[in-house]
Amino acid sequence: MKFKKVEQQDIAFLKSIIEKDRIFTEEEISEDFSRDELAGMRNMPEVLVEPISTEETSKIMEYAYEQNIPVTPRGQGTGLVGSAVALYGGIMLNMSRMNNILELDEENLTVTVEPGVLLMELSKFVESNDLFYPPDPGEKSATLAGNINTNAGGMRAVKYGVTRDYVRGLELVLPNGEIMEVGGKIVKNSSGYSLKDLIVGSEGTLGIVTKATLRLLPLPKKTISLLVPFHKLETAIETVPKIIKSKNVPTAIEYMVKDTILSAEEYLGKEFPDKTSDAYLLLSFDGNSKEEVEKSYEVVADICLEAGAIDVLISETQERQESIWSARGAFLEAIKSSTTEMDECDVVVPRNRIAEFVKYSNELKDEFDIRIKSFGHAGDGNLHIYVLRDDLAEDVWKDKLDKVFQKMYDRARELKGQVSGEHGIGFAKKNYLEESLSVDAMTIMRGIKKSFDPKGVLNPGKVS
């Protein structure tokens, strides 16, 4: 791909439409903007701009499109696959300043936000109004537009679904600078192809989200968690389909092993309430009364005991929830701090195949003599498997990583799974996507990209 480099006159143009203290070049750009959370690849944008309105975004995009300058939109940079890295330099749009919650519509149960609102800010805001935004990705400091662009899932997907299920309408700036609205506050919509659903999960390649209308639910009054210890990971994971079959749906079903818990303890300097067992399931339930929640968790607790759980431990109070969930929230950072470099595989497989996949990744650990750590959303089949470099030499690491990843993605395909459950494709997983989808599917995807962005200036080099 051939793009125009950013020159003085381009900067001058940007300065003509945007205050200059929101434009950064060269050394003024923090190193943070060259990479994302996993930092697997780095490249600096030539200019970093912080728009504060749809109109500004539109004008920049229109200009860049005309001039053939690549544009990479970005939120908090918490992605793991390089979607928000400016591979071709050009203009980076940091959307974080557009962080206002615009409207809470209690009659339609929607909230309208700007793209830079953080997930943690949104949940705090809606919960103070007795409302509930169910998508709950682990990274609470991510922006909503980031969540929308990866179609993030999170812990509560088992019961409530993923981000896509909660996006009602979007305002976009298209690659040519035009402003468009898709969807709306409407509950139903059978009016042609759902462009809104195409944008969700498009990783900033089809348009720039400048406003989002999200669906809310009434806030459940009571939540409790169960920590269920098992002698073996297999037994733990094999219990999951039985729980789902019972029709008492937990909001979350996570699995974790002792090893990961110990890393989190070390990282946080806080003790986990139980670590006598090798493997655990962590279940959450919500409802409107203690009695209601108790009734549904007791059924599930009995299933766990029958399936071989050692006990079922109950966490009800704030302190107890924190002692468990703060560890769960720190798993990624804890694993990261235990090694020099790592890469992640975020495959998703049908829920009844997850045990097989976990077992397989454990076998790979021995086969390739490399540390592999995993935890994940057992309830929705989405795994987070981390391959750790430790003190391997660069070439050995790359070689082992490629081989392990290849094996894992091959196996996921055999199990009728997909490349990414919630972290997206970005740049890092492009090859695996290509391998896993049919030629027709990839052709259609590229066609869609072309319809939105004939010149390919918006977030080039990503997804397809």
């Binding site: 309430p273 139980d274 079922v312 431990l313 109950i314 109070t317 704030q318 302190e319």
Partner: protein, 263 residues
């Protein structure tokens, strides 16, 4: 070894507010066991595992305080006592300690009484020592480690202003434990099922040795709350620029008592 743990039911959150007339705004959030008591409970259960023995809990409060005793049962406690009587109402630290001491007499002979460091509602951290005084037994406060449990004594580490002391205390005694002495276990569903119908012993003033009403509740409370009000928030939001910022910072740290100015 017979151990008694004092527990209390407190509001589910400390985020209470005061309205313009100086009244508490009701939060409507569930009640829970005082988080600091969980550490005392865990200490008792750990000692029981090592020593064999019985762990009992005692609480003073309205009938719904039974919930915290049920929770203690789910953690492995053997016996629970609820001190409930409307004549206990309005008790301050002194009357609460006296009531608990009277209840402890009724509940049995204990080698060791354990209390949490403080509660999240009152925050006084005084009930343990006062109770020990009323029971006429020694107490050790701020215990951060249990070193050894012997047949007739306990060796513990305590936090003093500038040092850590190792002390040995003979039974019977009372200790108050620091947060973090042991990580509290979670209630068990197996035990929940097993103890669902287990009895909770209710005691009222009529069961006590001292039935003088004047020593309990509001009558037995020397302190009186005259008013409550919201705290002042630190709303400082200053910007400093220019020269001698280090000097200014020094002076401000001294003014805020983070540094002592040596004159």
């Amino acid at each position: 070894m017979k151990t008694l743990v004092c527990i209390k039911q407190v509001p589910g959150t400390t985020e209470v507010e005061v309205d313009d007339n100086g009244n508490l705004i009701r939060s409507g959030v569930d009640a829970k066991m005082n988080p600091y008591d969980l550490y005392a409970l865990e200490t008792a259960l750990k000692l029981q595992e090592d020593q064999k023995g019985e762990v009992s809990v005692i609480t003073m409060g309205p009938p719904q305080s039974k919930e915290v005793i049920r929770e203690a049962y789910m953690m492995g406690v053997n016996q629970g006592f609820l001190l409930t009587d409307r004549r206990f109402a309005g008790a301050d630290v002194l009357a609460t300690s006296y009531t608990l001491a009277q209840g402890a007499y009724q509940a049995g002979d204990f080698d060791l009484i354990l209390c949490g460091k403080q509660t999240t509602d009152g925050d006084t951290a005084q009930v343990g020592p006062e109770m020990a005084e009323y029971l006429g037994i020694p107490h050790v406060a701020n215990v951060k480690t249990i070193v050894e449990c012997k047949e007739n004594s306990l060796i513990v580490e305590v936090e003093m202003p500038t040092s850590i002391q190792t002390v040995e205390v003979n039974f019977p005694c009372l200790i108050t434990v620091e947060k973090g002495i042991f990580q509290p276990r979670l209630p068990s569903y197996r035990l929940k099922k097993k103890t669902k119908y287990q009895e909770i012993t209710e005691l009222s003033l009529d069961h006590f040795k001292d039935i003088n009403e004047k020593r309990y509740g509001l009558s037995g409370s020397p302190t009186q709350v005259e008013r409550i009000f919201p705290p002042e928030q630190n709303t400082t939001s200053e910007r400093w620029e220019g020269e001698n910022l280090g000097d200014k910072l020094y002076q401000t740290l001294v003014d805020l008592k983070f540094l002592y100015e040596n004159k």
